[in-house]
Amino acid sequence: MSKHVLIVEDEPNIVESLSFLLERAGFEVSSEPDGAMAMDRIGALKPDLIILDVMLPNRSGFDILRDLGELAEAPHVLMLTAKGQARDRQTAEAIGVTRFMTKPFANAEIIKAVQEMLA
């Protein structure tokens, strides 16, 4: 059974390319553009990994991370941060994220990261 990846990102063209790449790599892919809806989707889909953007409409990626910390079985999180925003990275690390991908990223890098995290 293929692993499930949820992309929480509000930029539709990034979602389009990531979905294309992840599906080709054999993953089942869903997406959610609204920060406020993310936790409901996570609860319903129970993904194995979440690709999570920091700046989202209605609710930030950090807030979602904090809620994930409350779950008994939290999925893996690959955080998307902007290049040069060291502060974002520090905040995410403090909440418990260990894997980051900075925008703009190379396709091969993000697919490799997801594969390693779900191996």
């Binding site: 063209n13 990034i14 389009e16 390319s17 925008k103 703009p104 190379a106």
Partner: protein
């Protein structure tokens, strides 16, 4: 123990008078070692001994206690503290200012210019990090670039893509390129506007036009005299705020009126100075770093309550202060009020207001040049 540069001035005047330390000590009736401590600012001096020394040196006591302009002294001390590696001889500061007034002014002026420019750079840097428009624009541009890069990489590196999918990617690149172009244009416009409209400025000490119009100088002075410079009475008579009256009172002496010289500082809750009028014996730092014990900051803990205090600076100068924190605009339910605190201050010997019975509260100018030991409010080491 009051710390001042009086000892340095005594040493300077003694040299001019051609007296040895031993000779002056004998004339005044104190030991040479005690005079030596005084001259090195390690012992405070006042009262009879000060008067005796001044008499023997043939100078008025004020020459020994006032010396160089305190604003200049403050600037030089700040300059020394800003570059501790040079170990500037702060103990000889009054001597330096007295012997080389031109060089001292030049050094103080260059230091102030440098400090002000650093503050501007720091503010601009802070702005680049925290400005919501810039943060949003940069995030948008990075998202555009990410989408273009990822999509272009797919199109150039993967061959077996359906025509329908390829068309969607083509449209995506076109859309993202247009958005990137729009975002770049908006950013350029923003910076163009900033450079022409938003030159950083110092906190003004000039009276606003509306204050000047609503409280005409001549009639205001008459009413101020009649009310014994009572701000509450004046605010009621002119139907204005106490802060507006404070600004008018602080402008009287500058306008050439025969009135007590009053200083004024108005700050917001972040400590940013919005209005400043310093007195020669009470210099005000231009960019933050002021003594947190000033009543103007205490005002925020008791908003809208009028506070009257007597404070004493390290040199011994005492000032009566009137302070009140008021909301900047009409307060709105559900919104936090934006308070500004104003402190009007006048030297004790010129104060028109009733003296408070409480003893003077010790305060400083800013920690770096404050000699007070064991101050709980200290935030950085002194250079003294």
């Amino acid at each position: 123990m009051p710390h001042s540069l009086t000892g340095t001035r005594i040493r300077q005047q003694r040299g001019r008078a051609g007296l040895s330390q031993t000779a002056l000590a004998r004339l005044v009736g104190i030991s040479t070692s005690y005079l030596n401590l005084i001259e090195h600012n390690k012992r405070g001096i006042a009262g009879k001994i000060l008067l005796s020394i001044a008499r023997e040196l043939g100078v008025p006591p004020s020459t020994l206690t006032e010396g160089a302009d305190s604003e200049l002294t403050t600037a030089l001390l700040e300059a020394a503290s800003a570059a501790p590696d040079h170990a500037a001889e702060t103990f000889a500061l009054a001597e330096f200012a007295g012997r080389f007034p031109g060089w001292s002014q030049l050094l103080a002026s260059v230091y102030r210019q440098n400090r002000d420019q650093e503050a501007v750079i720091s503010a601009l840097s802070d702005r680049l990090t925290h400005d919501p428009f810039l943060a949003e624009s940069l995030h948008l541009m990075l998202s555009n670039i990410t989408a273009i890069r990822s999509t272009a990489e797919i199109l150039t590196s993967i061959e077996d893509i359906s025509t329908e999918q390829r068309n969607r990617f083509d449209v995506a690149i076109h859309e993202e390129s247009r958005r990137l172009s729009d975002a770049t244009e908006a950013l350029i416009k923003y910076f163009d506007k900033e450079t022409t409209q938003n030159e950083p400025s110092e906190a003004p000490d000039e009276l606003s036009e509306s204050d000047a119009t609503s409280m005409p100088l001549e009639s205001f002075l008459v009413r101020a005299l009649a009310s014994n410079y009572n701000p509450s009475i004046l605010a009621t008579e002119y139907h204005t705020t106490l802060h507006a009256v404070f600004r008018r009172l602080a402008s009287l002496k500058r306008s050439g009126m025969d009135a007590p010289e009053m200083g004024l500082i108005i700050t917001n809750a972040a400590g940013q100075t919005l209005h400043r009028h310093a007195l020669s014996d009470f210099p005000l730092p231009r960019h933050g770093n002021a003594c947190p014990l000033w009543p103007v900051f205490q005002g925020f803990s008791q908003p809208e309550r009028p506070l009257q205090d007597l404070i004493e600076l390290p040199g011994g100068a005492q000032f009566v202060t009137l302070t009140i924190a008021l909301p900047r605009a009409v307060t709105t339910f559900g919104e936090p009020p934006d308070y500004q605190s104003a402190m009007l201050f006048v030297p004790l010997d010129q104060s028109p207001w009733l003296k408070t019975s409480q003893p003077a509260r010790d305060v400083g100018i800013s920690c770096r040049i404050c000699p007070r030991e064991n101050c709980a409010a200290r935030s950085e080491e002194t250079v003294l």
